[in-house]
Symmetry: C2
Subunit: 343 residues, 2 copies
């Protein structure tokens, strides 16, 4: 391996000067700079990133924490994929690298381990849930002064750096859309309330229903786990209430598609016999038949903003702060939420 020392010798300068050249520090004679660069090129010298990290006491890595999800190949979810892409883009712009960390079930309690080993300067945490353990871990992280940013999850009563989407407004708009298409009897297939965005969507749903002067039957508030299967299974429960259902808002696309599949088996076709709108605007929405109306959530941008914010904090030596960024969502109308033909 070519080291700074060899470059210094060849260029006839000190090691310190070589470092200055490569770090663009201090005033220096253009001629020496040139000599150094020439020598470096000739020897094919490249600074050792590990040694730099060691000396700077900064790894140059952004940790990306992915939750443990049993029986699910995690990255398969559109949700994570998009966020990761956004982080990746931002990270590269700042000269950082991204270190992926897939949590094991028992590690969920100890985010600190990531920082202890000094392999990351900051973290973006994806897919956190609102549980007592999680709250405690995050508070500990914060108390220890470790910079991190949550994506798409907030903790009521706690203030972290976080990037979210406006799920309340998104859901409100989704339900408004269904209402404008002429539907009154609207069901809601939500995900676990352990995710703050599920809570937010519920709020948006109620808001839209209330404003329209529509009642919400408890039987029409269903819960799945964001999987296609859970949507498929919800079809059965919904079918029992079919007298009272004209349209469904599902908290993600996969559940919406499962639901459509389940109801299709009973003869109900989305976009003909009832309306559906999903959430995420994932690829699956375009692939399904009928194509699925959905709420676009800017996951890519959310990932990018999370990385930008938390790394800006690190680079400027700020203490971890409590910024909350909330990005807008948007209704995307496709075939599954066509106008109610009976009106």
């Amino acid at each position: 391996m070519v080291t700074r020392k060899e470059v210094a010798e060849l260029a006839g300068v000190s090691e310190a000067t070589v470092s200055r050249v490569f770090n663009g520090l201090g005033p220096m004679k253009p001629s020496t700079k040139e000599r150094v660069l020439e020598a470096a090129k000739q020897l094919n010298y490249h600074p050792n990133a590990i040694a730099q990290s060691f000396a700077r006491r900064r790894s140059g890595n952004l940790g990306v924490v992915l939750p443990y999800m049993p029986k699910v190949h995690l990255f398969s979810a559109y949700y994570f994929s998009e966020i990761l892409s956004g982080i990746g883009e931002q990270v590269r712009e700042l000269g950082y690298d991204m270190l992926l960390s897939l949590l094991k079930p028992d590690e969920s309690l100890d985010y600190s381990a990531l920082y202890r080993s000094q392999k990351v300067d900051a973290c973006v945490i994806l897919g956190a849930r609102d549980t007592p353990e999680q709250r405690q871990s995050l508070m500990k992280l914060q108390a220890e002064g470790h910079p991190f940013c949550l994506v798409n999850q907030r903790f009521e009563g706690l203030s972290f750096r976080e990037v979210d989407a406006d799920h309340i407004e998104g859901s409100y708009q989704a339900v408004r859309h269904l209402q404008e298409e002429g539907y009154r009897k609207i069901a809601f297939l939500n995900g676990s309330l352990g995710y703050s965005n599920s809570v937010d969507r519920l709020e948006g749903f109620h808001k839209a229903m209330k404003e329209a002067g529509l009642d919400v039957m408890p039987e029409l508030l269903l819960e799945g786990n964001y999987s296609r299967k859970s949507g498929y299974e919800a079809a059965e429960r919904l079918w029992e209430q079919r007298e009272h259902v004209e349209a469904v808002f599902a908290a993600n696309d996969r559940m919406a598609i499962g639901l459509m599949q389940g109801l299709r088996e009973r003869g109900w076709i989305a976009g003909r016999d009832f309306a559906v709108i999903g959430c995420d605007d994932s690829d699956a929405a375009k692939l399904s038949d009928p194509s699925l109306s959905s709420i676009n959530v800017p996951f890519y941008e959310m990932g990018k903003e999370a990385a930008r914010g938390v790394l800006a904090g690190v680079l400027q030596g700020e203490a971890a702060n409590h910024t909350r960024v909330r990005l807008p969502t948007q209704v995307v109308v496709r075939q599954s939420s066509k106008r109610n033909p009976s009106k």
Copy 2:
């Protein structure tokens, strides 16, 4: 930050002894070991991973190289997601971390940069294509003695460490399946031949057709780019040949679904008017309507095996070698390839 030195002082031993305890090296008195661990615990000492990397001259990181794909949020593809999950699982078992590297277009020529900075000990390279530049880059990598492993891509005439799936056999089985369902006029929607697996699939297709004594009309050999859109557009070309088509084998699920959508608009329903089988057995295959028959490719296992192999090489100090692993594929029958009703 708590260092080894402080632990040594508190435990009343030398720094070397602390290292030995933490690395489980050499014989040592149980009592000293205990004293050290006790002191470490009391001080909440954790070895600095960067310093370890520095001293060991190993980063403990496996680089994962993702290709540049314009206008595509890379991770969204099922393909990459699964492979990444497999790598992640293996990496954790070996105590490694994974460093993601998204290539920019102009970086495709210089994989060496990743190793130069010493941030990775080895790489898994995804989505490589067979171009002269790529060949040259990879040969350079190999010449420099950098360990790496290709996934799902081989280079005819060159021998690298690589993990692949048996796409020839998979395609052969796919076409055989269509034939067994009673279809004779079979079209093939392939992807770019810049990917070795496209080449392999073409070979499998021809093999099955030849064995069945069936002709292959050049008009029925279509090429897309693995996107849904390209499948949708292929529908137009296929429609012109509808007299000669009963079934289609598509080189991935997304194209297959786009194709089904395009033909549906012309009144041809998959599983009723014609048969389709895709490839990848991605989530989309289950989401589509009708559900899409497909070739299961063990991407997860491929990623895991790639990481296992290349890291085993690193850990055992072997020079990069030329192992080729090929995993089996499997036909998954769903609704889109039902028996030909006209037979």
